[in-house]
Amino acid sequence: MPVLSLQNVSKRYGALQALSGVTFDVPRGAIFGVLGPNGSGKTTLLGIVTDVLKADSGTYTLFDRTATAAERRQIGTLLETPNFYHYLSGYKNLRISAAVKQRSEADIARVLEICGLTARQHSAFKTYSLGMKQRLALAAVLLGDPEVLILDEPTNGLDPAGIAEVRDLIRRLADTGKTIILASHLLDEVEKVCTHVAILKTGQLLLSGAVNEVISRNDYLELSAADNGALKAAMLQYPGCTSAEINGATVIAIFSATPDAAAVNAYLAEKGIWLQQLLLRKKSLEKTFLEITNVL
């Protein structure tokens, strides 16, 4: 049973087509990355799912049911910016969140502790730094320990230590079996945690599914020898090597399947080419993403 299922969802703002017939499912237990450059429709998509935006056409379900307020209460959501009453303290704001979510106020102390805000819980929200506001929003998301989380750019405004903390928090939550829908344009962030992805570009869904199935991120070798020209020629004859290019002082060899570095080393030695460097590397999600969004 998918936690979220979208069927042909479209949305237009005047002349701008923000989403065009987007369809995909988010399976239970997945860490689902919604990727795309700024303006690709990620927040619009999540806005529709959380009922703050109205789709022009298409439908969606939450927990396999028509989405209503009751379904939304089972989801912890951080959409865009942290939205709180400026004149109230962090603690009092969370009391309001708990009341709306119909969760116990007894959980507030726990989520404040997780997000490192216990010491400042009674300060007014307007006195918080950007990072603290973001952490309060995360605390609100975690109230009542929901099974599904929707996080739209959750590391916005955080310093490097805060980013690492949030990433660690997401991993820990994922380990407990929660479903997490994570929208981000920071691919490094997504690469480290996601099991599934949907990639959007100018409102169009380019692809979606399990990361390993939908994104071909073949390993490649980075090699160097005394004569890189000979090295390149030899690699082009190696079975499974689809390309070899000289890139500065190294040769980048790409393969149709994961290469066996030891076998390549032996093969080159037989040809009298002695390697000075041999590194097995994985293509970054960023590089793959740029290839996908530029080609499709």
Partner: protein
């Protein structure tokens, strides 16, 4: 509904601006009638007797206080504008929906304030009229004319509904306040004046004017010819219709548009 009211209570409990305006509005109700009561009772006693009206004696006092209190309603409207536009300023209207309120529940939450503030104004006016009737009047207690306080309550309800509608339409506090004050204090009065002069009594059927027509000051009301106005039932019907239409428009706006 209990949960919605509790949530709204949490929002205002520590909001100083809300309490300051509320206290000022609450004080204005007895204070607004105090000076006229003193003047009529002590200085214009003979004039009032000549007109056959003692504005602060039972049963006329209900009408007198209802009329004077109706001038304070704008303050309650401002409070309404602040309560609603705050949600847009802080974007908490979105967050309430994201966190699990139905859009309808957001409207119910704001309609709760329409009911709460209007009942408070009604009760304070009733208490003021009762007290002043005993203190400044010379006739025994009577509930005749109490209907004017019901008209006053409906006037407050309509004013608060208009404040709510303007707030959800324009969303920005400053703009909504200017529009609200402009409409309630000047624009509608001007339109009423122009319409009455050019097409006659139909000018009295503009939204807030329907309530004003039902709430004349006792002495002045007697001087208006019945040919210049419709029967009270027409104004009452118009007033109730406006309340229903405005509430419908608020629901329509909130349920259909992007937040």
């Amino acid at each position: 509904m209990k949960r919605i009211i509790y949530t709204e209570w949490l929002k205002v409990k520590n909001y100083r601006v809300f309490w300051v305006i509320l206290v000022i509005a609450a004080i204005m109700i007895p204070a607004g009638s105090y000076v006229p009561a003193e003047i009529y009772t002590r200085q214009l006693k003979d004039a009032a007797k000549m007109l056959g009206q003692a504005p602060f004696s039972f049963p006329v006092v209900w009408q007198t206080v209802a009329n004077i209190s109706s001038y304070v309603t704008t303050l309650f409207g401002l409070l309404m504008v602040i309560l609603v536009t705050n949600e847009y300023t802080f974007r908490t209207n979105r967050q309430n929906i994201i966190d699990g309120w139905d859009r309808k529940e957001f409207v119910y939450a704001k309609l709760f304030w329409v009911v709460a503030l209007s009942l408070m104004a009604f009760l304070l006016s009733a208490l003021t009229a009762c007290t002043y009737g005993f203190v400044y009047g010379d006739k025994p207690f009577s509930t005749e004319n109490f209907i004017y306080l019901i008209y006053y309550w409906l006037q407050v309800v309509l004013t608060l509904c208009i404040a709510l509608l303007l707030s959800v339409w324009v969303k920005r506090a400053g703009f909504a306040i200017v529009l609200f004050l402009g409409y309630t204090m000047m624009l509608e009065q001007t339109l009423v004046f122009m319409l009455k002069r050019s097409v006659g009594r139909i000018g009295g059927l503009l939204p807030l004017q329907t309530a004003d027509e039902l709430l004349p000051f006792p002495v002045v009301g007697k001087m208006i010819s019945s040919a210049d106005r419709y029967d009270d039932s027409i104004y009452l019907f118009g007033l109730l219709l406006y309340i229903a239409v405005v509430i419908y428009l608020v629901f329509r706006k909130i349920l259909r548009s992007d937040l």
